[in-house]
Amino acid sequence: MKRAKTEVELEAGRQRRRLMASSGPGLAWIMLFLILPSAVLLGIAFFSSDDYGNPVMPLSTQAFGQVAGYSLLGWDPGNILVFLRSLKQAGIATLVSALLSYPLVFFILSQRPSLRPLLLLFIVLPSWTNQVVRTYAWLELLGPNAPVSWLGHTLGFLPPDLGMAPGGFAVTTGLAYNYLPYMIVPLYASAEKLDWTLVEAGRDLYASGLRLFWHTVFPQTVPGLLSGIIFVAIPAFGDYVVPQLLGGDKAMMIGSLIANQFTETPDWPYGAALTLIMLVFTAAGLVAFRVVSQKVGGAEEAAV
Protein backbone atom coordinates (compact mmCIF):
# COMPACT_ATOMS: atom_id res chain seq x y z
CA MET A 1 0.00 0.00 0.00
CA LYS A 2 1.36 3.36 -0.93
CA ARG A 3 1.54 5.81 1.92
CA ALA A 4 1.48 9.54 1.50
CA LYS A 5 4.78 11.13 2.49
CA THR A 6 4.73 12.92 5.81
CA GLU A 7 5.50 16.60 6.05
CA VAL A 8 8.83 15.77 7.71
CA GLU A 9 9.88 13.52 4.83
CA LEU A 10 8.83 16.14 2.28
CA GLU A 11 10.82 18.78 4.14
CA ALA A 12 13.88 16.50 4.22
CA GLY A 13 13.57 15.99 0.46
CA ARG A 14 13.30 19.73 -0.11
CA GLN A 15 16.39 20.31 2.01
CA ARG A 16 18.31 17.72 -0.01
CA ARG A 17 17.29 19.34 -3.30
CA ARG A 18 18.29 22.78 -2.02
CA LEU A 19 21.62 21.37 -0.86
CA MET A 20 22.22 19.86 -4.29
CA ALA A 21 21.23 23.08 -6.08
CA SER A 22 23.54 25.27 -4.01
CA SER A 23 26.48 23.06 -3.02
CA GLY A 24 26.20 20.64 -5.92
CA PRO A 25 28.12 22.59 -8.59
CA GLY A 26 31.13 23.31 -6.35
CA LEU A 27 31.33 19.75 -5.06
CA ALA A 28 30.91 18.33 -8.58
CA TRP A 29 33.70 20.62 -9.81
CA ILE A 30 36.15 19.34 -7.19
CA MET A 31 35.16 15.72 -7.85
CA LEU A 32 35.51 16.07 -11.63
CA PHE A 33 38.71 18.10 -11.67
CA LEU A 34 40.60 16.77 -8.70
CA ILE A 35 39.26 13.58 -7.17
CA LEU A 36 38.69 11.82 -10.50
CA PRO A 37 42.12 12.88 -11.89
CA SER A 38 43.97 11.74 -8.78
CA ALA A 39 42.10 8.41 -8.86
CA VAL A 40 43.18 8.02 -12.50
CA LEU A 41 46.77 8.84 -11.55
CA LEU A 42 46.81 6.29 -8.74
CA GLY A 43 45.25 3.70 -11.05
CA ILE A 44 48.09 4.17 -13.53
CA ALA A 45 50.50 2.83 -10.89
CA PHE A 46 49.15 -0.67 -11.54
CA PHE A 47 49.91 -0.72 -15.28
CA SER A 48 53.09 -1.74 -17.10
CA SER A 49 54.97 0.91 -19.03
CA ASP A 50 55.89 0.80 -22.71
CA ASP A 51 59.11 2.12 -24.27
CA TYR A 52 57.84 5.70 -24.08
CA GLY A 53 56.83 5.41 -20.44
CA ASN A 54 53.10 5.32 -21.19
CA PRO A 55 50.86 2.98 -19.22
CA VAL A 56 49.92 -0.22 -21.09
CA MET A 57 48.31 -3.54 -20.23
CA PRO A 58 48.92 -5.98 -18.57
CA LEU A 59 48.41 -4.88 -15.00
CA SER A 60 51.53 -5.34 -12.92
CA THR A 61 53.25 -4.34 -9.71
CA GLN A 62 56.51 -3.69 -11.53
CA ALA A 63 56.30 0.05 -10.79
CA PHE A 64 56.33 -0.61 -7.05
CA GLY A 65 59.51 -2.63 -7.48
CA GLN A 66 61.03 0.43 -9.15
CA VAL A 67 59.93 2.56 -6.20
CA ALA A 68 61.70 0.19 -3.82
CA GLY A 69 64.84 0.62 -5.91
CA TYR A 70 64.87 -2.51 -8.13
CA SER A 71 65.76 -2.12 -11.80
CA LEU A 72 67.56 -4.08 -14.50
CA LEU A 73 70.81 -2.95 -12.91
CA GLY A 74 69.94 -4.44 -9.52
CA TRP A 75 68.97 -2.71 -6.30
CA ASP A 76 69.75 0.91 -5.62
CA PRO A 77 69.04 2.74 -2.34
CA GLY A 78 68.54 6.09 -4.13
CA ASN A 79 64.77 6.29 -3.79
CA ILE A 80 64.77 5.26 -0.15
CA LEU A 81 67.35 7.97 0.55
CA VAL A 82 65.15 10.53 -1.19
CA PHE A 83 62.18 9.46 0.96
CA LEU A 84 64.22 9.62 4.16
CA ARG A 85 65.68 13.00 3.17
CA SER A 86 62.18 14.38 2.51
CA LEU A 87 61.02 13.15 5.92
CA LYS A 88 64.08 14.67 7.58
CA GLN A 89 63.77 18.03 5.81
CA ALA A 90 60.04 18.27 6.56
CA GLY A 91 60.71 17.25 10.17
CA ILE A 92 63.43 19.83 10.76
CA ALA A 93 61.44 22.58 9.02
CA THR A 94 58.42 21.77 11.23
CA LEU A 95 60.55 21.75 14.39
CA VAL A 96 62.26 25.04 13.52
CA SER A 97 58.96 26.76 12.77
CA ALA A 98 57.40 25.43 15.99
CA LEU A 99 60.38 26.63 18.06
CA LEU A 100 60.27 30.09 16.44
CA SER A 101 56.48 30.34 16.61
CA TYR A 102 56.17 30.23 20.41
CA PRO A 103 58.29 33.32 21.14
CA LEU A 104 56.76 35.14 18.16
CA VAL A 105 53.17 34.38 19.15
CA PHE A 106 53.68 35.46 22.75
CA PHE A 107 55.66 38.50 21.65
CA ILE A 108 52.67 39.57 19.54
CA LEU A 109 50.28 38.84 22.42
CA SER A 110 52.41 40.94 24.77
CA GLN A 111 51.84 44.02 22.59
CA ARG A 112 48.87 46.43 22.69
CA PRO A 113 45.74 44.84 21.18
CA SER A 114 45.61 47.49 18.44
CA LEU A 115 49.11 46.60 17.29
CA ARG A 116 48.65 42.81 17.18
CA PRO A 117 46.87 42.47 13.80
CA LEU A 118 49.61 44.50 12.13
CA LEU A 119 52.39 42.40 13.69
CA LEU A 120 50.57 39.26 12.56
CA LEU A 121 50.14 40.70 9.06
CA PHE A 122 53.89 41.27 8.78
CA ILE A 123 54.44 37.58 9.57
CA VAL A 124 52.00 36.43 6.90
CA LEU A 125 52.86 39.00 4.20
CA PRO A 126 55.94 37.29 2.70
CA SER A 127 53.87 34.15 2.11
CA TRP A 128 51.50 36.12 -0.13
CA THR A 129 54.24 36.84 -2.65
CA ASN A 130 54.81 34.20 -5.28
CA GLN A 131 56.54 31.05 -4.04
CA VAL A 132 59.20 31.15 -6.76
CA VAL A 133 60.12 34.76 -5.92
CA ARG A 134 60.32 34.29 -2.15
CA THR A 135 62.30 31.08 -2.61
CA TYR A 136 64.89 32.29 -5.11
CA ALA A 137 65.29 35.33 -2.86
CA TRP A 138 67.25 33.04 -0.52
CA LEU A 139 69.80 32.48 -3.28
CA GLU A 140 70.67 36.17 -2.87
CA LEU A 141 71.48 35.54 0.77
CA LEU A 142 72.96 32.04 0.66
CA GLY A 143 74.26 31.54 -2.89
CA PRO A 144 77.92 31.75 -3.88
CA ASN A 145 79.20 35.37 -3.63
CA ALA A 146 76.30 36.21 -1.31
CA PRO A 147 76.86 37.85 2.10
CA VAL A 148 76.44 34.74 4.26
CA SER A 149 78.67 32.58 2.05
CA TRP A 150 81.25 35.36 1.94
CA LEU A 151 81.28 35.31 5.75
CA GLY A 152 81.70 31.53 5.57
CA HIS A 153 84.69 31.87 3.27
CA THR A 154 86.32 34.49 5.46
CA LEU A 155 85.86 32.43 8.61
CA GLY A 156 87.09 29.38 6.71
CA PHE A 157 84.23 26.93 7.14
CA LEU A 158 83.16 27.10 3.49
CA PRO A 159 85.45 26.35 0.55
CA PRO A 160 85.76 29.36 -1.80
CA ASP A 161 83.43 29.47 -4.84
CA LEU A 162 80.85 27.42 -2.96
CA GLY A 163 77.73 28.89 -1.41
CA MET A 164 75.40 27.71 1.32
CA ALA A 165 72.98 27.24 -1.55
CA PRO A 166 72.37 24.99 -3.38
CA GLY A 167 72.37 22.36 -0.66
CA GLY A 168 70.49 20.69 2.17
CA PHE A 169 70.86 23.61 4.57
CA ALA A 170 69.34 26.04 2.07
CA VAL A 171 66.40 23.66 1.54
CA THR A 172 65.70 23.44 5.29
CA THR A 173 65.88 27.23 5.55
CA GLY A 174 63.66 27.71 2.52
CA LEU A 175 61.03 25.27 3.80
CA ALA A 176 60.96 26.82 7.27
CA TYR A 177 60.70 30.29 5.70
CA ASN A 178 57.89 29.26 3.37
CA TYR A 179 55.76 27.51 5.96
CA LEU A 180 56.44 29.47 9.19
CA PRO A 181 53.16 31.44 8.88
CA TYR A 182 51.21 28.17 8.64
CA MET A 183 52.48 27.35 12.14
CA ILE A 184 52.11 30.83 13.62
CA VAL A 185 48.51 31.48 12.58
CA PRO A 186 46.88 28.41 14.22
CA LEU A 187 49.17 28.72 17.24
CA TYR A 188 48.21 32.38 17.63
CA ALA A 189 44.53 31.46 17.40
CA SER A 190 44.82 29.06 20.33
CA ALA A 191 47.19 31.24 22.37
CA GLU A 192 44.80 34.17 22.03
CA LYS A 193 42.15 32.21 23.95
CA LEU A 194 44.60 31.28 26.69
CA ASP A 195 43.15 31.14 30.18
CA TRP A 196 45.66 33.27 32.11
CA THR A 197 44.08 32.47 35.49
CA LEU A 198 45.72 29.03 35.21
CA VAL A 199 49.09 30.72 34.81
CA GLU A 200 48.35 32.86 37.89
CA ALA A 201 47.41 29.73 39.81
CA GLY A 202 50.68 28.09 38.78
CA ARG A 203 52.59 31.14 39.93
CA ASP A 204 50.78 31.09 43.26
CA LEU A 205 52.08 27.55 43.64
CA TYR A 206 55.60 28.92 43.17
CA ALA A 207 56.14 27.50 39.70
CA SER A 208 58.24 29.72 37.49
CA GLY A 209 60.07 29.98 34.20
CA LEU A 210 59.99 26.95 31.95
CA ARG A 211 58.12 24.85 34.50
CA LEU A 212 55.32 27.38 34.60
CA PHE A 213 55.21 27.53 30.80
CA TRP A 214 55.29 23.76 30.41
CA HIS A 215 52.47 23.06 32.88
CA THR A 216 50.14 26.01 32.40
CA VAL A 217 50.70 27.60 28.99
CA PHE A 218 51.86 24.78 26.77
CA PRO A 219 48.93 22.35 27.33
CA GLN A 220 46.49 25.09 26.33
CA THR A 221 48.28 25.73 23.04
CA VAL A 222 48.51 22.06 22.02
CA PRO A 223 45.48 22.21 19.65
CA GLY A 224 47.05 25.10 17.72
CA LEU A 225 50.44 23.42 17.71
CA LEU A 226 48.96 20.19 16.34
CA SER A 227 47.14 21.99 13.50
CA GLY A 228 50.33 23.91 12.77
CA ILE A 229 52.39 20.72 12.57
CA ILE A 230 49.95 19.31 9.99
CA PHE A 231 49.87 22.54 7.96
CA VAL A 232 53.68 22.69 7.85
CA ALA A 233 54.75 19.05 7.67
CA ILE A 234 52.46 17.89 4.84
CA PRO A 235 53.25 20.61 2.29
CA ALA A 236 56.94 20.69 3.29
CA PHE A 237 57.24 16.91 2.74
CA GLY A 238 55.92 17.17 -0.82
CA ASP A 239 57.34 20.59 -1.70
CA TYR A 240 58.62 21.00 -5.24
CA VAL A 241 59.80 24.60 -5.66
CA VAL A 242 62.17 24.86 -2.67
CA PRO A 243 64.31 21.75 -3.36
CA GLN A 244 64.29 22.54 -7.11
CA LEU A 245 65.61 26.08 -6.64
CA LEU A 246 67.72 25.72 -3.49
CA GLY A 247 68.59 22.02 -3.40
CA GLY A 248 70.67 20.89 -6.33
CA ASP A 249 71.13 17.21 -7.20
CA LYS A 250 72.32 16.03 -3.81
CA ALA A 251 69.34 17.45 -1.94
CA MET A 252 66.58 15.99 -4.13
CA MET A 253 63.24 15.47 -2.44
CA ILE A 254 60.23 13.31 -3.26
CA GLY A 255 58.40 16.06 -5.17
CA SER A 256 61.17 16.40 -7.76
CA LEU A 257 61.55 12.62 -7.99
CA ILE A 258 57.85 12.31 -8.88
CA ALA A 259 57.94 15.24 -11.32
CA ASN A 260 60.93 13.74 -13.18
CA GLN A 261 58.88 10.66 -14.08
CA PHE A 262 56.40 12.85 -15.93
CA THR A 263 58.73 15.39 -17.53
CA GLU A 264 62.40 14.56 -18.09
CA THR A 265 62.37 10.77 -18.69
CA PRO A 266 58.68 9.84 -18.71
CA ASP A 267 57.62 6.67 -16.95
CA TRP A 268 54.02 7.23 -15.87
CA PRO A 269 53.39 3.99 -13.92
CA TYR A 270 56.61 4.50 -11.94
CA GLY A 271 55.74 8.14 -11.21
CA ALA A 272 52.19 7.14 -10.25
CA ALA A 273 53.51 4.45 -7.90
CA LEU A 274 55.82 7.01 -6.25
CA THR A 275 52.82 9.32 -5.80
CA LEU A 276 50.76 6.50 -4.29
CA ILE A 277 53.50 5.64 -1.80
CA MET A 278 53.91 9.32 -0.92
CA LEU A 279 50.17 9.69 -0.27
CA VAL A 280 50.19 6.50 1.82
CA PHE A 281 53.01 8.00 3.91
CA THR A 282 51.09 11.25 4.29
CA ALA A 283 47.84 9.49 5.21
CA ALA A 284 49.63 7.18 7.66
CA GLY A 285 51.25 10.24 9.21
CA LEU A 286 47.87 11.96 9.57
CA VAL A 287 46.25 8.88 11.14
CA ALA A 288 49.14 8.31 13.55
CA PHE A 289 48.96 11.98 14.37
CA ARG A 290 45.25 11.85 15.13
CA VAL A 291 45.73 8.91 17.45
CA VAL A 292 48.47 10.77 19.31
CA SER A 293 46.53 14.02 19.43
CA GLN A 294 43.44 12.29 20.78
CA LYS A 295 45.59 10.92 23.58
CA VAL A 296 47.10 14.32 24.28
CA GLY A 297 43.70 16.00 24.09
CA GLY A 298 42.45 18.93 22.09
CA ALA A 299 41.82 16.63 19.17
CA GLU A 300 38.78 18.48 17.84
CA GLU A 301 40.71 21.40 16.48
CA ALA A 302 43.53 19.31 15.11
CA ALA A 303 41.19 17.00 13.22
CA VAL A 304 41.42 17.81 9.55
Binding site: S22, L34, A137, L279
Partner: protein, 277 residues
Protein backbone atom coordinates in the same frame (compact mmCIF):
# COMPACT_ATOMS: atom_id res chain seq x y z
CA UNK B 1 47.80 38.88 30.44
CA UNK B 2 50.72 38.61 32.75
CA UNK B 3 54.09 38.22 31.16
CA UNK B 4 57.00 39.33 33.38
CA UNK B 5 59.26 42.06 32.00
CA UNK B 6 62.32 39.82 31.71
CA UNK B 7 60.37 37.32 29.62
CA UNK B 8 59.04 40.18 27.47
CA UNK B 9 62.58 41.26 26.66
CA UNK B 10 63.56 37.71 25.73
CA UNK B 11 60.49 37.38 23.49
CA UNK B 12 61.26 40.67 21.79
CA UNK B 13 64.93 39.71 21.49
CA UNK B 14 64.00 36.56 19.57
CA UNK B 15 61.12 38.05 17.60
CA UNK B 16 62.66 41.19 16.11
CA UNK B 17 65.53 39.25 14.46
CA UNK B 18 62.94 36.85 13.01
CA UNK B 19 61.02 39.80 11.57
CA UNK B 20 64.24 41.13 10.08
CA UNK B 21 65.08 37.71 8.66
CA UNK B 22 61.62 37.41 7.09
CA UNK B 23 62.26 40.50 4.99
CA UNK B 24 66.03 40.29 4.40
CA UNK B 25 65.78 38.05 1.30
CA UNK B 26 63.04 40.25 -0.15
CA UNK B 27 65.06 43.42 0.45
CA UNK B 28 68.11 41.80 -1.17
CA UNK B 29 66.03 41.06 -4.28
CA UNK B 30 65.30 44.78 -4.53
CA UNK B 31 68.93 45.69 -3.75
CA UNK B 32 70.34 43.44 -6.49
CA UNK B 33 67.85 44.79 -9.02
CA UNK B 34 69.88 48.01 -9.08
CA UNK B 35 72.83 48.10 -11.46
CA UNK B 36 75.40 50.67 -10.24
CA UNK B 37 77.94 49.63 -12.88
CA UNK B 38 75.68 49.95 -15.91
CA UNK B 39 74.81 53.17 -17.70
CA UNK B 40 71.89 53.72 -15.35
CA UNK B 41 71.13 52.33 -11.89
CA UNK B 42 67.67 51.51 -13.18
CA UNK B 43 68.93 49.69 -16.24
CA UNK B 44 67.25 46.41 -15.25
CA UNK B 45 63.90 48.17 -14.92
CA UNK B 46 64.29 49.77 -18.36
CA UNK B 47 64.96 46.31 -19.79
CA UNK B 48 61.99 44.91 -17.89
CA UNK B 49 59.46 47.48 -19.03
CA UNK B 50 60.48 47.17 -22.67
CA UNK B 51 60.34 43.34 -22.59
CA UNK B 52 57.21 42.21 -24.42
CA UNK B 53 57.51 38.62 -23.11
CA UNK B 54 57.22 39.94 -19.55
CA UNK B 55 54.23 42.05 -20.52
CA UNK B 56 52.30 39.14 -22.05
CA UNK B 57 53.20 36.96 -19.05
CA UNK B 58 51.83 39.68 -16.75
CA UNK B 59 48.63 39.88 -18.78
CA UNK B 60 48.17 36.11 -18.54
CA UNK B 61 48.83 36.14 -14.79
CA UNK B 62 46.21 38.83 -14.30
CA UNK B 63 43.63 37.07 -16.50
CA UNK B 64 44.31 33.85 -14.61
CA UNK B 65 44.07 35.44 -11.16
CA UNK B 66 40.94 37.51 -11.82
CA UNK B 67 39.17 34.87 -13.91
CA UNK B 68 39.78 32.00 -11.52
CA UNK B 69 39.03 34.09 -8.41
CA UNK B 70 35.65 35.28 -9.74
CA UNK B 71 34.58 31.81 -10.86
CA UNK B 72 35.71 30.20 -7.62
CA UNK B 73 33.94 32.92 -5.62
CA UNK B 74 30.65 32.12 -7.41
CA UNK B 75 31.04 28.36 -6.88
CA UNK B 76 32.46 28.71 -3.38
CA UNK B 77 29.82 31.11 -2.04
CA UNK B 78 27.02 28.77 -3.18
CA UNK B 79 28.87 25.77 -1.78
CA UNK B 80 29.49 27.37 1.61
CA UNK B 81 25.93 28.70 1.76
CA UNK B 82 24.43 25.30 0.93
CA UNK B 83 26.53 23.51 3.53
CA UNK B 84 25.74 26.04 6.24
CA UNK B 85 21.99 26.12 5.53
CA UNK B 86 20.81 22.83 4.11
CA UNK B 87 23.18 20.11 5.26
CA UNK B 88 21.64 17.66 7.67
CA UNK B 89 24.05 18.17 10.54
CA UNK B 90 22.65 15.33 12.58
CA UNK B 91 22.86 12.88 9.68
CA UNK B 92 24.73 9.66 10.25
CA UNK B 93 26.76 7.54 7.92
CA UNK B 94 29.47 8.37 5.45
CA UNK B 95 27.18 10.29 3.09
CA UNK B 96 26.74 13.23 5.47
CA UNK B 97 30.54 13.45 5.87
CA UNK B 98 31.13 13.34 2.13
CA UNK B 99 30.87 17.12 1.39
CA UNK B 100 33.40 17.84 4.15
CA UNK B 101 35.80 15.24 2.80
CA UNK B 102 35.49 16.59 -0.73
CA UNK B 103 36.11 20.17 0.40
CA UNK B 104 39.27 19.27 2.32
CA UNK B 105 40.83 17.24 -0.51
CA UNK B 106 42.27 20.21 -2.44
CA UNK B 107 43.56 21.76 0.79
CA UNK B 108 45.33 18.67 2.06
CA UNK B 109 46.61 17.27 -1.22
CA UNK B 110 50.29 18.15 -1.81
CA UNK B 111 50.64 20.57 -4.77
CA UNK B 112 52.87 18.20 -6.69
CA UNK B 113 50.21 15.44 -6.60
CA UNK B 114 47.54 18.00 -7.49
CA UNK B 115 49.53 19.32 -10.46
CA UNK B 116 50.57 15.93 -11.83
CA UNK B 117 47.02 14.54 -11.51
CA UNK B 118 45.69 17.41 -13.58
CA UNK B 119 48.53 17.08 -16.10
CA UNK B 120 47.75 13.40 -16.69
CA UNK B 121 43.97 13.91 -16.68
CA UNK B 122 43.98 16.79 -19.18
CA UNK B 123 46.49 14.92 -21.32
CA UNK B 124 44.32 11.77 -21.45
CA UNK B 125 41.10 13.70 -22.10
CA UNK B 126 42.81 15.76 -24.78
CA UNK B 127 44.11 12.67 -26.57
CA UNK B 128 40.66 11.09 -26.48
CA UNK B 129 38.44 14.06 -27.34
CA UNK B 130 40.60 17.01 -28.40
CA UNK B 131 39.27 19.10 -25.51
CA UNK B 132 41.40 20.63 -22.75
CA UNK B 133 44.59 21.39 -24.65
CA UNK B 134 47.20 22.46 -22.09
CA UNK B 135 47.11 26.23 -21.81
CA UNK B 136 45.48 29.09 -19.96
CA UNK B 137 42.14 27.22 -19.95
CA UNK B 138 43.51 24.17 -18.11
CA UNK B 139 45.41 26.44 -15.70
CA UNK B 140 42.19 28.32 -15.03
CA UNK B 141 40.33 25.07 -14.23
CA UNK B 142 43.09 23.97 -11.84
CA UNK B 143 43.21 27.37 -10.11
CA UNK B 144 39.44 27.37 -9.61
CA UNK B 145 39.70 23.89 -8.10
CA UNK B 146 42.16 24.87 -5.39
CA UNK B 147 40.40 28.16 -4.59
CA UNK B 148 36.80 26.90 -4.22
CA UNK B 149 37.30 25.21 -0.81
CA UNK B 150 38.88 28.30 0.73
CA UNK B 151 36.05 30.57 -0.44
CA UNK B 152 33.46 28.00 0.70
CA UNK B 153 35.03 27.66 4.14
CA UNK B 154 35.25 31.45 4.57
CA UNK B 155 31.54 31.84 3.75
CA UNK B 156 30.61 28.78 5.80
CA UNK B 157 32.42 30.17 8.86
CA UNK B 158 30.59 33.49 8.51
CA UNK B 159 27.15 31.87 8.15
CA UNK B 160 27.62 29.31 10.93
CA UNK B 161 28.13 32.19 13.32
CA UNK B 162 24.65 33.54 12.50
CA UNK B 163 21.55 33.11 14.61
CA UNK B 164 19.41 30.46 12.80
CA UNK B 165 16.31 32.39 13.90
CA UNK B 166 17.22 35.04 11.31
CA UNK B 167 16.38 32.60 8.53
CA UNK B 168 13.07 31.70 10.20
CA UNK B 169 12.28 35.39 10.58
CA UNK B 170 12.87 35.94 6.87
CA UNK B 171 10.68 32.93 6.15
CA UNK B 172 7.90 34.30 8.37
CA UNK B 173 8.02 37.54 6.43
CA UNK B 174 7.26 35.50 3.30
CA UNK B 175 10.70 35.80 1.77
CA UNK B 176 11.23 32.80 -0.50
CA UNK B 177 14.62 31.16 -1.03
CA UNK B 178 15.83 33.56 -3.70
CA UNK B 179 14.56 36.67 -1.93
CA UNK B 180 16.10 35.75 1.40
CA UNK B 181 19.34 34.92 -0.40
CA UNK B 182 19.46 38.39 -1.97
CA UNK B 183 18.19 40.48 0.95
CA UNK B 184 19.48 38.56 3.96
CA UNK B 185 22.32 36.25 3.02
CA UNK B 186 24.23 38.39 0.53
CA UNK B 187 24.54 41.47 2.78
CA UNK B 188 25.56 39.30 5.73
CA UNK B 189 28.20 37.33 3.86
CA UNK B 190 29.43 40.29 1.79
CA UNK B 191 32.67 40.65 3.79
CA UNK B 192 33.25 36.91 3.42
CA UNK B 193 32.63 37.14 -0.33
CA UNK B 194 35.13 39.98 -0.73
CA UNK B 195 37.58 38.19 1.57
CA UNK B 196 37.14 34.95 -0.37
CA UNK B 197 37.69 36.72 -3.70
CA UNK B 198 40.89 38.39 -2.45
CA UNK B 199 42.05 35.08 -0.96
CA UNK B 200 41.45 33.48 -4.35
CA UNK B 201 43.61 36.11 -6.09
CA UNK B 202 46.34 35.68 -3.48
CA UNK B 203 46.31 31.90 -3.86
CA UNK B 204 46.44 32.22 -7.64
CA UNK B 205 49.38 34.63 -7.54
CA UNK B 206 51.20 32.54 -4.92
CA UNK B 207 50.93 29.26 -6.82
CA UNK B 208 53.70 27.91 -8.97
CA UNK B 209 53.66 24.11 -8.84
CA UNK B 210 50.09 23.53 -10.02
CA UNK B 211 50.40 26.23 -12.70
CA UNK B 212 53.67 24.74 -13.94
CA UNK B 213 52.18 21.30 -14.58
CA UNK B 214 48.94 22.52 -16.16
CA UNK B 215 50.54 25.18 -18.38
CA UNK B 216 51.05 24.72 -22.11
CA UNK B 217 53.76 26.11 -24.39
CA UNK B 218 51.75 29.29 -25.04
CA UNK B 219 50.67 30.06 -21.49
CA UNK B 220 53.78 31.25 -19.68
CA UNK B 221 52.72 33.31 -16.66
CA UNK B 222 55.02 35.49 -14.54
CA UNK B 223 56.08 32.80 -12.01
CA UNK B 224 56.78 30.32 -14.83
CA UNK B 225 58.71 33.01 -16.71
CA UNK B 226 60.87 33.69 -13.63
CA UNK B 227 61.40 30.01 -12.90
CA UNK B 228 62.55 29.15 -16.41
CA UNK B 229 64.74 32.26 -16.62
CA UNK B 230 66.52 31.22 -13.41
CA UNK B 231 66.88 27.64 -14.67
CA UNK B 232 68.38 28.96 -17.94
CA UNK B 233 70.78 31.67 -16.86
CA UNK B 234 70.55 32.10 -13.10
CA UNK B 235 69.33 35.17 -11.26
CA UNK B 236 69.88 38.37 -13.27
CA UNK B 237 69.19 42.02 -12.32
CA UNK B 238 66.20 41.92 -14.68
CA UNK B 239 64.68 38.96 -12.79
CA UNK B 240 65.34 40.83 -9.54
CA UNK B 241 63.61 43.90 -10.95
CA UNK B 242 60.58 41.77 -11.85
CA UNK B 243 60.66 40.14 -8.40
CA UNK B 244 60.84 43.57 -6.77
CA UNK B 245 57.81 44.81 -8.70
CA UNK B 246 55.82 41.67 -7.72
CA UNK B 247 56.81 41.85 -4.05
CA UNK B 248 56.13 45.60 -3.94
CA UNK B 249 52.68 45.24 -5.50
CA UNK B 250 51.61 42.53 -3.06
CA UNK B 251 52.89 44.46 -0.02
CA UNK B 252 51.18 47.69 -1.08
CA UNK B 253 47.91 45.89 -1.83
CA UNK B 254 47.98 43.97 1.47
CA UNK B 255 48.76 47.03 3.58
CA UNK B 256 46.14 49.05 1.70
CA UNK B 257 43.47 46.41 2.31
CA UNK B 258 44.53 46.10 5.95
CA UNK B 259 44.30 49.81 6.72
CA UNK B 260 41.04 50.31 4.82
CA UNK B 261 39.29 47.41 6.61
CA UNK B 262 40.74 48.22 10.03
CA UNK B 263 39.68 51.86 9.72
CA UNK B 264 36.18 50.75 8.78
CA UNK B 265 36.10 48.37 11.75
CA UNK B 266 37.38 51.06 14.06
CA UNK B 267 34.65 53.41 12.80
CA UNK B 268 32.05 50.71 13.49
CA UNK B 269 33.59 50.07 16.87
CA UNK B 270 33.34 53.71 17.90
CA UNK B 271 29.76 53.92 16.65
CA UNK B 272 28.85 50.90 18.77
CA UNK B 273 30.58 52.31 21.81
CA UNK B 274 28.93 55.68 21.33
CA UNK B 275 25.69 54.23 22.68
CA UNK B 276 27.35 53.21 25.91
CA UNK B 277 28.57 56.76 26.38
Amino acid sequence: MSIPASVRYTLAGISWPVYVLLYTPLVLVAYYSLTPHAASEWHAYQLLFSDSAVFTALQRSLILALGSASSSTALGVLLGYGLARFRNRHGRGWLSHLPGLIIYTPIIMPSIVFGISELIFFNLVHNATGLFAAGLQTMMIAHITFQVPYVALTVFARLSGLDPNLFDAAHDLYADGVKSFIHLILPVVQPAIIGGFLLGITLSIDDFTISFFTAGPGSVTLPIYIYSAIARKGVTPEINALGTVMIGTIIIMALGHFFITSRRERAGHFAARGNLG
